[in-house]
Every structure is written in C-alpha cells, then in structure tokens.
Symmetry: C2
Subunit: 312 residues, 2 copies
C-alpha cells in the first residue's frame, strides 16, 4: 500500500546541486590548480541540508531534537517544515545570530545553552526525557547523516574535470565521511584531505593516535561550524581508513581564506567554509602539482563579523 510516507521525495530530488566555481584570480594568487565546490547556495545556505533532509525524511518520528552550532539546526528546521514535522534545536548562547534567526524563521524551536555551564549533549538528554517520542538527531554522527552527505560525494565523483584531490572541512566528520562514501559509490578514486581548525584539532590528533581524541572543551575557533568536541564514531571508522592527511589550519589562515574568497572569487563564505583554502595555504606542499577541489561548506555569517574580517 502506498502511504503518504512512501511518497516523500528522496534527498537527491530535493537538494540543489553544488555550485562549481572556477576562480582564475584565486588560482593565480595561490599558484595552485583549485576549483571550488560551493554549498553556500544550497537550501539553508550550507551542505547541512543534505544530511538534515535525509534524516528527517527517513525516520518515523514526527518530532526531532538536535544540538548544533546552527547550520544543522537551520537545515533540520527547514527540512521538517517541508515534511510537516517539528523540531527543537539546542544552540550555544555564542551562536551566530543569523543562524538562530534562520532556525526560527523555518518554524524551529530554539533552546539556548551556555556551554560553559552545561554541555549541549546534556541539554539534549534533558529534552529527550521531556519528549520521549522524539528522534535525537546528531548533526554528524548518524548513518543517515553520512548517507545524506554522500550525495555531494557522488556529485564530485561525476565531475567532468576530475580533481586529483578533494579537500573537506572537518568538524564532527559527517561531511568528509559522507563525501568519501559518495566518491566510492561513484567509483571515483580521488584522494581526500581534511581541513580542521588548529584551535580544535581533535581529528588530526585522532589520526595520529589511531583512536578518537577529544578536545577538552568546545574549541574557540572563528570557524563556528567546527566547534565540535570530537569526531563521530561512525565517521571515524570511515576517516581512519580513507583520509591520509588532516591539515590543522591556524586562525589567521581561516581569516585570510575568507578574505581571498571574497576578493578573488566573489564568494561570501562563513569562516568554516574557508577552512579548505586555509589548508591549501598552510601546507601547500600537499597540493602542489595536483588539481584540487576545495569544498566550501556554507555561507551563513553575521554581517558584523564578516565586515570585520574583510575590512582589514
């Protein structure tokens, strides 16, 4: 029997394809063969919609609860609005205002948490006890997140001009593990390198240690999409096998990357979205002589913060 639930469009039918940008002036300035895959024009302005829609459309529950630095919450709220579901989003009090506003615009309920006092995870646990019928959606550590993000890997795998290497920002690891999964599905043997803020370098430490290493607290990096405590377990299993390098990007390189994308590629990105350009500048020897696809993860940033970054 066909029910309404069977008729829900799959994630592939709802997402927008990534925007491929060839930025000659950026290439000339960095002296490297770089193409950008920008998710800034994805629904809700970041790749997170790929994962959020996949989760919200594939679970049975009609109420979803999540903890997030903002973009996943916005994406989940919008996905739920498309699917006639509800969601509660737990965000740190330090989140970008634009991200919080955006969640509310989509009908999502926002719960603030001061992470100096209580972890996001603890607040989610309290809420899950209050709403026992809810699905607790991890922003990164969920097979449905990886599956949603794999759509981007398949897109990159199908590019006409195939890159030698794809650089991907790492927070909880949901994007990079999704991209690896999608590339494998597309039969594309590109090498995949991670880009992580030096200020919260748990993934690079994990790769060196051979096991998940956690940050002591929420990292204070400007790249607010990468302020995660540790990699997700599902993601780690994929990362440990398939990622050879994770570049630890200093804050100054993240800021410079944001400026260069603005000035030389006409691209508005959030600092997390500039991690890959920052990585290329930080360890150029990893990329020299190779064609490089930099994934720009999102573009949602407070105007005041952005103005400060570019007006140097």
């Amino acid at each position: 029997m066909i029910t309404a639930k069977n008729c829900v469009p799959p994630v592939e039918a709802v997402i927008r394809p990534t925007t491929i940008i060839e930025a000659r002036r950026l290439v000339n300035t960095l002296g490297m063969n770089i193409t950008l895959a920008s998710e800034t024009f994805q629904h809700t302005g970041s790749f997170k919609f790929r994962a959020a829609y996949n989760v919200a459309s594939r679970v049975q529950e009609d109420l979803l609860i999540t903890a997030t630095s903002g973009n996943f919450g916005h994406a989940l709220a919008y996905a739920c609005s498309l699917l006639n579901k509800r969601c509660i989003v737990v965000v740190p009090t330090t989140s970008a205002k634009v991200k919080v506003d955006a969640i509310r615009e989509c009908g999502g309920a926002v719960e603030f948490v001061d992470v100096r006092i209580k972890s996001r995870e603890r607040r989610v646990k309290e809420l899950s006890e209050q709403w026992p019928g809810a699905y607790i959606a991890s922003a990164y550590d969920d097979l449905l997140v990886i599956e949603g993000n794999s759509t981007l890997g398949r897109e990159l795998g199908a590019l006409v001009n195939k890159p030698d290497v794809v650089v991907v920002p790492i927070g909880g690891g949901g994007l990079i593990s999704g991209i690896i999964t999608g590339l494998e599905e597309a039969g594309a043997a590109f090498s995949v390198i991670g880009a992580e803020p030096l200020e919260g370098n748990d993934a690079a430490q994990s790769l060196r240690a051979g096991e998940i290493v956690r940050n002591e607290g929420e990292p204070s990096t400007i790249a607010d999409g990468a302020r995660t405590i540790s990699l997700g377990k599902h993601n780690w299993e994929i990362i440990r096998k398939s990622v050879s390098n994770i570049v630890e990007v200093p804050e100054e390189a993240i800021l410079r990357g944001t400026r260069l994308l603005f000035e030389l590629a006409n691209l508005k990105v959030e600092p997390t979205g500039a991690l890959c350009i920052g990585a290329v500048m930080t360890q150029p020897e990893l990329f020299s002589g190779r064609s490089v696809c930099c994934v720009v993860s999102g573009g949602n940033v407070d105007p005041a913060i952005f103005a400060n970054i570019i007006a140097v």
Copy 2:
C-alpha cells in the same frame, strides 16, 4: 582557407552560464516570487565579459581602446589576453581600486582620467589619434556588445521555470538591449523592466521624453557600473520599442538591496548588481503576483566599501 582567426572560439563557447539562485529567505522577506540570475561568477566577475569577448574576438584590430567604469575594462583586458590582443583602458580616478587592479592583472594598460576636468570620451579620442590602428570599443554602444550580451537573453529564454518579467540594470543600456535581443531570438515573450539609479535617471527620462536625454555630468551614484552620461544610440532603438518601465532606484534602496542579497541569498554583489532588488522594493506594484527574474550584473566591489554597506 582556415586561418588562426577563423579558429577563435565563439562567445557561446567561452562564457560561463549565468548562475540561477533561488533564495527562499529573500522571497519570504520581500513577499515576491523572485529568482536571481547572477553574473558574479562570470569570467572577470560581471556580465561585461560576454560583450567584451564578443567585441575582441570579432574585430580585426589587435589593439583595443575603451573607456569604462572598470568592469568592461577588466573584461576586455581578460578577453584580449585570451585572444593574444592588447588593450588600453581609460578609467575615472574615482573607480573602485579592485577594478583597476584587476585590469592590470590581465595585462591591460590603465589610463586614468579625472572626469571633473576631462571626459573619458575626450581622453579616448586623444589616444585614438595616438594609436590610429586601434579599435575604439564602446562599453555599451556597439552592435557587437549587444550581440555578446544577447547570450544572456538566450539563456534566460531557455529557463525551465519561465519568469513573467526580467528586471535588468541600466547604465548605458548594453545589457538590457542585449537581453531583449536574446529573448527575442529564443522566442521568449517575457516583459523586460529596467532598473536605474535615481541619481542618474537619464534612461527613465529618455523613455518619458521619447528621445535620448543626457545626464548633465557623471552621476555620483554608489552604483558605479551605472555612472554613464546617456544611453547608447543602438541600445536606445531597442529600449524605446521593448521596455515598458524603468524604475528609478534611490541610493538607499540600492544599499538595502546589497545588504539583503548578502544576508538572505549569501550573494556578494557590487551595488550596481543590487539595482534590480532595489527596483522591486521601490515599485513593488509593478512586480506583485508575477514571477520575477532579477539580473545581478556583477560582484566586483572594494572590500572597505562593502564592509561599510553591510555593517549597518
């Protein structure tokens, strides 16, 4: 006999297709059914490359001279570099620094002119006497410019989701007349509305008078791509027949449009590129109930100017 000149790729083969952006939050905020056609990721960051490449590839001369507020000069310099030609670009001393730098990066020679003392046209005339073998390329009033820009009209005419109306910025009128030409070639009967700064409203005045009206001097609008003295003659013949309305956009609406595109569409645009959003806000009654395609003409803007616009 096939010569090297016959082998030059036509403009259609070299340009990038325009970037169609559906910005849900912008649509919700303005309460109008708007799609963006952004030329900010075109070669050299504005639609001008379509015209410049067409001119440079179609004329016999190997040296081109032009007067421009910057984007056409950048585009012509890049087109010439692709075609192994040379160009001299006359720019006002008030031009955005990013535009001047960009011309030089492409190997174009820059000649400054203080437009309070001498018109750009006069300086071009002097240079043409100095270089009698050069082609004097108008940034807007040339059939080859219209032909180059018509590629964008054909793209819009071929959209799957056809708009009722296309809104186009007007400076010298080369873009709007090219788009009208291309739409006609594509058999697309969209209505076309112009968007012009109120501070330099010669096109709107021309439409009312039934003949070309000139601004007294170079307009001081923030929309530096529209600081033209008057419409081109070739363009006027097309505009008078096919444009029903030209919205005169106050400076404040241009600035607000720039901000809204940044905040709600993740799009970095130069002020001229926000004219159409400014037009929709200025005369909403012209657009209400219709599906509207706003052409975003370019994205090249000095970071300091942009930071001031968004940090309000």
